[in-house]
């Protein structure tokens, strides 16, 4: 093991097959994220930021190299073990919120808890706590279409928090929001990191969003650089 960060990425490579063409997205990338860090990954389109994020979150596997999160070698886990790991250890925030349109805010946040053995009462407590945290306690029975973009994203964040994961992964969380809502979301993320000590890895285009992070790194042509 090269380093001992909370998130430790070692010499990973990843390529995709697009019809007949093989595209090398990441080549020999290594990254160390200490516990409690708030990292922003920036770079031009197609640079592989989202791919790297997916590898860290256990949504995808590297062709070569290893990914270790909180001392667990996730690229060595089988599919169902990986699914379980995700449920307990990672919270996702997407650019397009990705809420289930047929479920209310409450039910959306409750989803991850269905995989646990908590009692109905315990589930309710967790959900209400998460929704209060993001400031949406008064909208819990609304459907996504009845919420504004900013509110939807906050529901998504509540969903990401409800199982109390140590790692939060965010892919362009403010990409679809106006200035005011974006500001609100970033403040929320900052609070999660400072107050609740969540390790956050965020991909963003938005320089203002990147300002809130501790550290910014650039990914370009497969190379990771500071700054």
């Amino acid at each position: 093991m090269a380093g001992n960060g909370f998130v430790q990425v070692d010499k990973v490579s990843k390529s995709y097959q697009r019809d007949a063409i093989k595209v090398e997205v990441l080549t020999n990338i290594s990254l160390t994220v200490p516990e409690g860090e708030f990292l922003a990954l920036m770079g031009p389109s197609g640079s592989g930021k989202t791919t790297l994020l997916n590898l860290i979150a256990g949504i995808d596997r590297p062709d070569q190299g290893s990914v270790v999160v909180n001392k667990v070698d996730i690229d060595g886990l089988g599919e169902s073990a990986l699914a379980k790991w995700r449920a307990n250890n990672v919270g996702f925030i997407f650019q397009f919120y990705n809420l289930m349109p047929v479920l209310t805010a409450y039910e959306n946040v409750e989803l991850p808890l269905l995989l646990t053995r908590l009692s109905k009462k315990e589930k309710m407590e967790h959900v209400e706590t998460a929704l209060k945290l993001v400031g949406l306690a008064d909208r819990i029975h609304h459907y996504p279409r009845q919420l504004s973009g900013g509110q939807e994203q906050r529901v998504a964040i509540a969903r990401a928090l409800v199982t109390d994961p140590a790692l939060i992964v965010a892919d362009e969380p403010t990409g679809d929001l106006d200035k005011v809502s974006a500001e609100e979301i970033m403040t929320l993320l900052e609070r999660l990191n400072k107050e609740f000590k969540k390790t956050i890895v965020m991909v963003t285009h938005d320089p203002r969003a990147a300002e809130k992070a501790h550290k910014v790194m650039h990914l370009d042509k497969g190379e990771l650089t500071k700054g």
Binding site: A83, F92, N98, V102, P112, L114, L115
Partner: protein, 388 residues
């Protein structure tokens, strides 16, 4: 259960599409049930057979007559309890091109026929009146209703096999012992037929169409068949004796090609059900590719996803199937009313119900297979990338 609520809500997302899918499946299942009912109705006669009756007919063909004198000889066989006989009269009633005017008309022995066929339910008085008058006839309740026959009415018709003008007086209306017995027959006295024929075409007198035997014990049947046919093996008119069931079955097999075709078509219907359902489920699954990917990121496993897809598929299949099955009954009843004499017995059998339910379930499962395997194969990252 939460998963079930999710399935239901998903199905209600596109109300029109869900409604059309259920409607399509419903119609197809109704058609399936209806066709199957026709197929089973065709063999209804076989089910009507009794376990102790046998039929003796001319060896070469059912069409050819047997001498009445055979009766005495047949009665000498030990295991034969009772012997009766009948002739197919045929005849043309009113407009022969109209379906409704075709019903079985037969000349029978009034003394023994109803003894061998207790399934004809008649009052004592009606039977007595029938035996008293030479040109009396008994008709079934279905044709009595269809043609408005009442006791005392005169029914006239032209003979074809037995030419001339014939008049019969209705002296009894019979019911079948249950819904499996034909209530469309008209029976009259054999002697009436024979007397006319003796006058008009004397060479044809003294002949019956076939004999019906009642055998004391089921197990004796093969032996009886052999013995009867032995009796007449050297006569001019050789006989073939078989159980009533075999006899009825031979009629069914005459139309076996048509029956097979109807069965084949009923299977094609299953294909149509599948196509409609598979189309809808595939569409729904494709629309929700991103959602399934998100569920996977949250930690739901493939089993859960398959459950959602298959669950919705089965839900639609079962709703459509149940509705379709319920509709099969009134449609079959309506058809039976329209063509009472063509299929005298037209019931939706249990086997049809079982088949229809199985078909719906099977369709629900099969329709989900392609979308399921596609979804399972899709990597989470690709699924998230999907638009719409």
């Amino acid at each position: 259960m939460f998963i079930f609520r999710l399935i239901l809500k998903n199905a209600l997302r596109h109300k029109l599409r869900t409604f059309l899918t259920i409607l399509g499946i419903c119609i197809a299942v109704t058609a399936f049930g209806f066709l199957r009912t026709i197929v089973t109705a065709w063999s209804a006669g076989v089910e009507m057979s009794s376990v102790t009756r046998m039929i003796t007919r001319h060896k070469v063909s059912f069409i050819m007559p047997l001498p009445k004198s055979y009766r005495e000889k047949i009665q000498t066989i030990a295991d034969v309890d009772q012997v009766t006989y009948a002739n197919w009269f045929g005849g043309l009633y009113k407009d022969p091109n109209d379906w409704k005017n075709f019903f079985p008309r037969m000349a029978v022995d009034p003394e023994t026929y109803f003894d061998i066929y207790p399934e004809f339910v008649l009052s004592e008085k009606e039977l007595a009146d029938f035996r008293k008058e030479r040109n009396a006839c008994i008709v079934g309740t279905k044709i009595a209703k269809e043609h408005g026959f009442k006791i005392g009415d005169i029914v006239s018709m032209d003979g074809d096999i037995y030419p001339g003008k014939w008049d019969f007086v209705v002296r009894g209306i019979y019911k079948g012992k249950d819904e499996t017995w034909d209530e469309t027959q008209m029976l009259f006295q054999w002697d009436y037929l024979n007397e006319r024929i003796t006058q008009q075409q004397p060479t044809r007198q003294g002949n019956v169409g076939w004999y019906v035997l009642r055998v004391k014990d089921q197990n004796a049947m093969p032996a009886v068949a052999r013995e009867v046919d032995e009796l007449f093996s050297n006569s001019r008119a050789g006989t073939k004796t078989e159980t009533e069931k075999e006899f009825q079955q031979s009629f069914v097999s005459m139309s076996s090609a048509i029956i097979t075709s109807l069965e084949a078509i009923s299977y094609i219907i299953i294909g149509i059900i599948l196509l409609i359902l598979a189309n809808t489920i595939a569409m729904a699954a494709r629309e929700r590719t991103r959602e399934y990917a998100v569920l996977k990121t949250l930690g739901f496993s493939s089993v859960h996803i398959v459950g959602l897809i298959a669950g919705e598929s089965l839900l639609l299949a079962c709703l459509g199937g149940a509705l379709g099955l319920v509709l099969t009954f009134p449609i079959s009843a309506g058809f039976a009313k329209l063509f009472p004499t063509f299929f005298p017995i037209f019931n939706v059998e249990d086997i049809t119900i079982i088949l229809a339910v199985s078909v719906a379930l099977l369709a629900g499962i099969i329709a989900a297979t392609f979308p399921t395997s596609a979804t399972l194969r899709t990597k989470i990252a690709d699924g998230l990338r999907q638009i719409g």
